[in-house]
């Protein structure tokens, strides 16, 4: 039963990946206005140079052959060559992935803890002033564009108080020793991560609240209370565990959202990650890098969805039995 479920999930995953790669090909290599053709057609090249470009990008092949070559390149991890850096796209992205992982990872951990905490507080005092303030506060923060929140933090902690660094990942100049370096990166991390937490925690607090309110009226919760268990123990121990499932299914959507946020936040704070890379490659029309970054983001979201689906399946006995 479980093997069959796994098999079906893996097959869907493979299909999704294949469609994503093909979608990318369609977007960047087939649709009118695609960068490769625009480059080859633009007036800056002599006929000989244009012929060379056409040959280099394989535009002389029929479309279907171009597609096959593209698929083969993707399978070999060849994402193309950056116009600006004059390096393979994978090399360009390699330097940025780690920085984005640090930022997004830290922000995600704090976001979940903070969001779930406030969601539980709101649900356990449902329909009170506390509940209403948390909900309205969440909506207010949710309504802030990531980049604007970042700019406000720059004013508060950078321009006016000089309390924290607001740009880059390390203080320029030499930083002695691993410990000092880590501390320095940590200080640079605070504001960009805080921005992402402020904007995204609302999503978790609202979902947690709404599911928990539903769970708290279920029979087993009432029974646990009737048995004499304290309210706090029932909420945090019994109910929360069951309310976490919908929170987990939101994970896939959340990753898409926080990556969108990372583009804005990395731009505002000059954090040298994938987001800043996307911003720069949009500005310099470095399409191969843009394509590579988008592809990697799509893979990240697809992978998260896959994992959260599997976890959901194994954690929720009700789903497993059907």
């Amino acid at each position: 039963m479980t093997a069959r479920y796994l098999g079906r999930k893996v097959a869907t995953l493979a299909l999704t990946l294949y469609v994503t790669v093909s979608f990318n090909f369609l977007l960047f290599h087939v649709l009118p206005g695609n960068p490769v053709q625009m480059l080859a057609r633009s007036g800056h090249f002599s006929p000989a140079a244009r012929a060379e470009l056409v040959r280099l990008f394989g535009l002389n092949h029929p479309l279907f052959d171009q597609y096959l070559i593209y698929l083969k390149n993707m399978l070999h991890g060849n994402l193309g060559f950056s116009y600006v850096y004059r390096e393979p796209v994978t090399t360009v992205m390699g330097g940025a992935i780690g920085n984005t992982l640090v930022l997004v990872g830290t922000a995600t951990l704090v976001t979940i803890v903070v969001g779930v905490f406030f969601g539980v507080i709101a649900a356990s005092r449902a329909h009170s002033i506390t509940d209403a303030s948390i909900t309205v506060g969440s909506l207010g923060l949710w309504s802030m564009p990531d980049f604007f929140t970042g700019m406000i933090l720059i004013f508060l902690f950078g321009v006016w108080t000089h309390a924290l660094p607001v740009s880059g990942i390390v203080t320029s100049g030499v930083t002695e020793g691993l410990w000092a370096h880590t501390l320095d990166v940590g200080r640079h991390l605070i504001l960009p991560a805080l921005t992402l937490v402020l904007v995204n925690a609302a999503e978790f607090s609202l979902i947690t609240r709404n599911t928990l309110v539903d769970v708290l009226v279920e029979d087993y919760v009432v029974t646990a209370r009737a048995k004499g268990l304290s309210r706090r123990r029932v909420v945090w121990g019994h109910a929360l565990r069951n309310a976490m499932l919908p929170v987990m299914t939101a994970a896939g959507l959340y990753v898409g959202m926080i990556l969108g946020g990372a583009i804005q936040v990395e731009t505002v704070f000059s954090w040298p990650g994938m987001g800043l890379l996307i911003y720069n490659s949009v500005e310099q029309r470095d399409y191969p890098v843009l394509e590579g970054c988008f592809f990697l983001f799509a893979i990240a979201v697809i992978a998260t969805n896959f994992i959260s689906d599997l976890l959901y399946h194994f954690l929720d006995a009700r789903v497993r039995r059907t």
């Binding site: 649709l31 209403a132 909900t135 604007f148 406000i152 950078g158 990753v255 983001f297 799509a298």
Partner: protein, 302 residues
């Protein structure tokens, strides 16, 4: 309407079209959060639609000397000046229209697509449902803002392209929500009875299904609208806004690019930013309140 011919005695009140919708607006008004959203929206609309008529913005009005650059708020310039000496308050009043315009047109595209696909998918079920939902799921997992950025970078930055790009990427969740509601509606006794009386698919969808998913569509519409306005702002901030139209996102892009932050020109950043937040918040308060009204358990009756 010639609905009477098909009226079934004892049909549940919730299935009657008009009362459900009228009740929705009344309940929105009775919910404090919803009412706050409506008030806020009224203020935002007044500022965005009437403001530019009273205080027109002229992008060529650069002030008279170098002394008029990046000036803090004063009697002459209520919200200070830009790095080019333009009036921030007038630019702010002019910038809201694009946010609103892109938000509304993108949302309309997303709603027609999402509600249409959800309706067809949920009503017909079977292979049509499978195919449509596979497509929906594919677009649902694509990271939205990165996709919007890629599309804008490839296809251009005019207001129309921006609306199309945001609209064409914002429909999957709507399709999912509408579909699951339609799935349960089509099994209801009334719909079954009407069908056995010989009503056609189109008629059933128009008269019996659509009015019942309408409240859900409205709740979702307000939330999609918030998202679309945020997406437009982010695009413009990243330099992918319409170069000839002033919008709040573009103003923030110019502020950031011209070093307004390090000059401490908070008025240049705060003014357009507050505009975006107010407009988005108005729609998300309304959307969230409608959502609560539709799921009474979450909000409770106050």
């Amino acid at each position: 309407m010639s609905d009477d011919a098909l009226a079934v005695p004892g049909a549940p009140a919730a299935l009657e079209a008009t009362p459900a919708r009228a009740g929705l607006w009344r309940r929105l008004w009775r919910d404090p959060m919803g009412r706050a959203g409506v008030y806020l929206l009224a203020v935002v609309l007044l500022v965005v639609l009437v403001g530019p008529l009273v205080f027109p913005f002229n992008a060529q009005d650069f002030g008279t000397s170098a002394a008029s650059i990046l000036q803090p708020p004063s009697a002459a310039h209520w919200m200070g000046t830009t790095e080019l000496g333009q009036d921030v308050f007038r630019e702010f009043l002019a910038g809201g229209r694009i946010s609103l315009y892109v938000g509304i047109s993108a949302t309309l595209i997303a709603m027609v697509l999402g509600a249409g696909l959800g309706l067809v998918s949920g009503y017909y079920a079977g292979w049509r449902d499978t195919v449509l939902m596979r497509i929906t799921d594919f677009f649902l997992v694509l990271p939205t803002l990165p996709l919007i950025i890629v599309l804008a970078a490839l296809f251009g930055q005019s207001v129309i392209v921006t609306s199309l790009v945001i609209g064409l990427t914002s429909w999957p969740q709507t399709a999912r929500i509408i579909r699951s509601q339609v799935l349960s509606l089509r099994e209801r006794p009334l719909v079954q009875r009407v069908r056995s009386l010989g009503a056609g698919d189109l008629r059933i969808m128009r008269v019996h299904i659509l009015p019942n998913v309408a409240p859900l569509i409205f709740a979702n519409l307000a939330l999609v609208l918030s998202g679309a306005i945020l997406a437009q702002a982010a695009l413009a901030f990243l330099g992918l806004g319409d170069p000839v139209q002033v919008s709040w996102g573009t103003t923030l892009h110019n502020a950031f690019d011209s070093g307004a932050m390090s000059s401490g020109a908070w008025w240049y950043v705060l003014t357009p930013g507050v505009g975006i937040v107010a407009m988005v918040l108005a729609f998300s308060l309304i959307g969230h309140s409608l959502d609560r009204v539709l799921n009474p358990l979450h909000g409770g009756r106050s």
